[in-house]
């Protein structure tokens, strides 16, 4: 398994703790499915905790962007938490650092939904 995704809820905010690689194929599909189930259940206030993510290929970055857009289209928000250095580099290279809302600690991320 490339990517492990655990789901938590804090109030009406869903937190997905991701561990592993978000890459073309399996990893990207798992992320799409996890966010998809949340949205299907009407839960569109989402935090992706990327603290355990070691590798995001261009397809994985694309998937993050897609999930961001899809969530926004339902009137919700998808925010990023705990970006490892390398993943931050990747968002910088792709000029996505300012597109996403990015947080360094969970409580601030949670408060941002209030």
């Amino acid at each position: 398994m490339q990517l492990e995704i655990r789901e938590r809820a804090v109030g009406d905010v869903a937190i997905l703790d991701l561990t592993g690689k978000i890459t073309i194929g399996e990893g990207s599909v798992q992320l799409r499915d996890s966010v998809g189930s949340l949205l299907d259940a009407g839960r569109n206030r989402i935090i992706l905790n990327l603290g355990g993510v070691t590798y995001v290929d261009s397809s994985g970055i694309g998937e993050l962007v897609s999930r961001f857009t899809t969530t926004k289209n339902t009137g919700g928000r998808l925010k990023l938490l705990n970006l490892p250095k390398k993943i931050k580099d990747l968002l910088m290279i792709t000029k996505l650092l300012t597109v996403f809302e990015i947080y360094e600690d969970e409580s601030t991320a949670l408060e941002s939904f209030q």
């Binding site: 290929d57 694309g62 962007v65 961001f68 290279i93």
Partner: protein
């Protein structure tokens, strides 16, 4: 230099499942020739992008078509070529993924990755069909000041 001019080649059938085999081999070669962790990481990623493109856009997942990866360890650089057997494309004729209006595109960042992570990347149509991507990474490590600086250099910014 013992490893100078040496060549390792890997050929896979067109399946995404095999990309991890390629990146693991890439990591091993990087380690063998003394790339530090950062350099290995970025080379790995560039190779992954190139092979993914060959499988997806080049060979269109046709299991009869292979992707051929060749590593040439020179005294000054690691050269990696990736060849597919598809219709080819013109890399100068692609939307710029950094153009503000493209920022939310779900795809189109692979070539940017490759260009950023390697010291050079070139595309050419192979005389016998398909694309041949040639990438290289210098073996002399960039000057290091501190952690931050080094990563900065490795991603080519």
């Amino acid at each position: 230099m013992m490893l100078a001019e040496n060549v390792v080649e890997l050929t896979i059938t067109s399946q995404l499942e095999f990309i991890d085999l390629v990146t693991t081999l890439t990591d091993n070669i990087s380690g063998m020739i003394g790339f530090d962790e950062d350099a290995s990481y970025w080379v790995n990623m560039a190779v992954r992008e190139s092979v993914a493109n060959a499988v997806e856009h080049g060979n269109k997942y046709d299991p009869q078509k292979s992707v051929d990866i060749r590593y040439t360890v020179g005294p000054d650089e690691l050269k990696v070529t990736v060849r597919d057997y598809g219709e080819g494309f013109d890399p100068s004729d692609l939307p710029d993924p950094l153009d503000p209006q493209n920022l939310l595109n779900p795809a189109g960042r692979g070539i940017l990755y490759m260009r950023t992570f390697m010291d050079s990347v070139e595309w050419q149509r192979h005389p016998e069909g398909g694309m041949l991507v040639s990438m290289s990474k210098r073996r002399t490590p960039p000057k290091q000041n501190d952690e931050g600086e080094r990563t900065h250099d490795a991603v080519g910014n």
